[in-house]
Symmetry: C2
Subunit: 347 residues, 2 copies
């Protein structure tokens, strides 16, 4: 392993500087990514291992990040469970043709064998590991059961999430049946990813924040915990990123994950005070700060480094995915600023 | 005053039961409101005092809420400052034709005399007070400087708020110039509303939650504080509602407001523990819970009442505005449940 800063920081072991990667780092802000997407559609890219490997590695070469995350989409998992996924180009991300609405539809969902129905991702992981040749660690990921369920019930992103909220408030038993099935699916999926070469895994709970704190614990966190319990970790650190869930940082750390991902709505000094003695933290620059000029980006980076303070246990990242219209030079300036400014906190 | 429960709860004085009103209670979920909107457009309704009074009072008569909030829109204030407002029917709420982009445009904005440019709202308040005849108190409101500025710079709601974020991160001086002008405008506007008959005022900070906590304090809360300092209260309680700002409940209470409005992402028991000894709390049922059947709504109400616990200092409300497709019977069931279930906490 040439650069294992990321893995050491996940385990809160000493590092020479703070490692950094960027959520959605393999994405549209990179001209090299857009060049490939001009030739194939989004789902084909997800399902073609050599192309997925290529775009996964692009930010390692171009931006200089300390970890590679495999290019994929969280919705390929419900697709493997039997739902029909399609991408309406230009109209946002992938969507489901027939959202889940009944218990019969929940019961019909399969728990896929990830090495069969999702083997193209395992191939992409194996290939990416081989090409990376240990330059940086490789991260695998999945959506949380709650976030996947929300997409499956709504069909797509939503403003008020009426269908999913009706399900949990009017018919919680069906919601739990769906979430339990998803937890078992996600655990098997992430275990297979680790077996195929992922050296860390991140669970994305994009929609945890639409719930009140009690319901977040009942319908989202409980199933993330189940995933982590069923997971065959084989030494791979686990990261849990719940967006807009600053109300439950301690509960998230209590799931047994190694790293708590923070969005930009929480003060990282406060988060470290609360859970820093038993979890590493990942985050949390406001992604829109990358619109600002490089010298301002550096100020933003310095502020967060200072808030976290001395010692290991911090993986620098944005508080959410990088936006598609961020200039590449700004992404580079961000990574460079972390690399340079963090050294003093690890002497 | 026949029913002053709301005002007493704002002041944390003893009440016989917890008062309740609903953000956006004068709105599209009411057939009686839709009947009027079928005849006049949204801005005409805002600007016609007898119609504004009529729709403001509808929920008092139909739903039985304990407070009346004057029907209006926060964006009539920037309009009075010189911006051109228009409503693209069917495409969301009001928008600005020419968003603010330069310092020259900021400098050109007027600080309106609310009794001239916004006198139609003062007329509506006077008329509503007269018709209400002290049945329930009348609330006036305004957008926070930050929220108004965000709409003025973006032109409308946004996903990532790129323009506003660029302004604060790249050009904070201009942002402060705009916010200072807005704070003085909002203070004069709310003072005039109180003079015209508003017995309490609420500041809506819809977009405070898009900021990291430090920037929230610098660009939003600081100017809410300025409004409150400049405000001629004349005894009227002040409510500050910042959406998605659970990270700063204590700082919000420290502005000197009487009531902190809570969205549904914070546990009201925790909020009371933090600030309950010096501020009342308003909220905070998840608005989508009103999609559930009345018996489930009652369970949700009971849970929040139990969380708040015994004693005064709680105004029941949703955690955000009522959604336009909520059945009227469910809104009634919500209000009725609060009225019945809360008595035991005030014995």
């Amino acid at each position: 392993m040439i650069n294992d800063l990321f893995l050491r920081a996940c385990r809160r072991e000493p590092v020479e500087r703070t490692p950094v990667w960027i959520m959605r780092q393999a994405g549209r802000y990179l001209p090299e990514y857009r060049a490939i997407r001009a030739k194939v559609d989004f789902l084909t890219l997800c399902k073609t291992p050599d192309l997925a490997a290529e775009v996964s590695i692009q930010p390692v070469n171009i931006i200089g990040v300390d970890a590679c995350i495999i290019f994929s989409d969280i919705l390929v998992v419900p697709e493997a469970m039997g739902m029909k996924l399609f991408v309406d180009e230009g109209k946002g991300g992938p969507r489901f043709e027939n959202p889940i609405r009944t218990r019969a539809e929940i019961n019909k969902l399969a728990i896929p064998d990830p090495n069969r129905e999702l083997n193209y991702i395992m191939d992409a992981l194996r290939l990416t590991r081989k090409i990376l040749n240990n330059r940086v660690p490789l991260i695998g990921f999945a959506g949380s059961p709650w976030t996947l369920a929300t997409y499956m019930v709504e069909g797509k992103g939503s403003k008020n999430f009426r269908s999913m909220k009706e399900l949990i408030y009017s018919n919680p038993k069906d919601a739990h049946a769906l979430l339990d099935k998803l937890a078992r699916t996600v655990a098997a999926y992430l275990s297979a990813k680790i077996e195929a070469g992922a050296q860390a895994v991140q669970i994305f709970d994009t929609w945890g924040g639409i719930l009140p704190p009690d319901e977040f614990k009942e319908f989202s966190l409980r199933y993330i915990e189940q995933v982590l319990k069923l997971l065959n970790r084989n030494g791979a650190p686990t990261i849990v990123f719940c967006k807009d869930c600053g109300h439950s940082v301690e509960a998230i750390a209590d799931t047994g994950c190694d790293v708590v991902g923070l969005d930009w709505s929480i003060d990282i000094a406060k988060a470290r005070m609360m859970v820093g003695s038993y979890a590493a933290l990942q985050g949390n620059l406001d992604p829109t700060m990358l619109y600002a000029p490089p010298e301002r980006i550096r100020e933003g980076v310095k502020k967060i480094l200072e808030k976290f303070g001395r010692g290991s246990g911090h993986i620098f990242n944005l508080g959410h995915g990088i936006l598609p219209d961020i200039p590449v030079e700004h992404a580079k300036a961000f990574v460079q600023a972390v690399k340079e400014e963090s050294i003093q906190y690890h002497r």
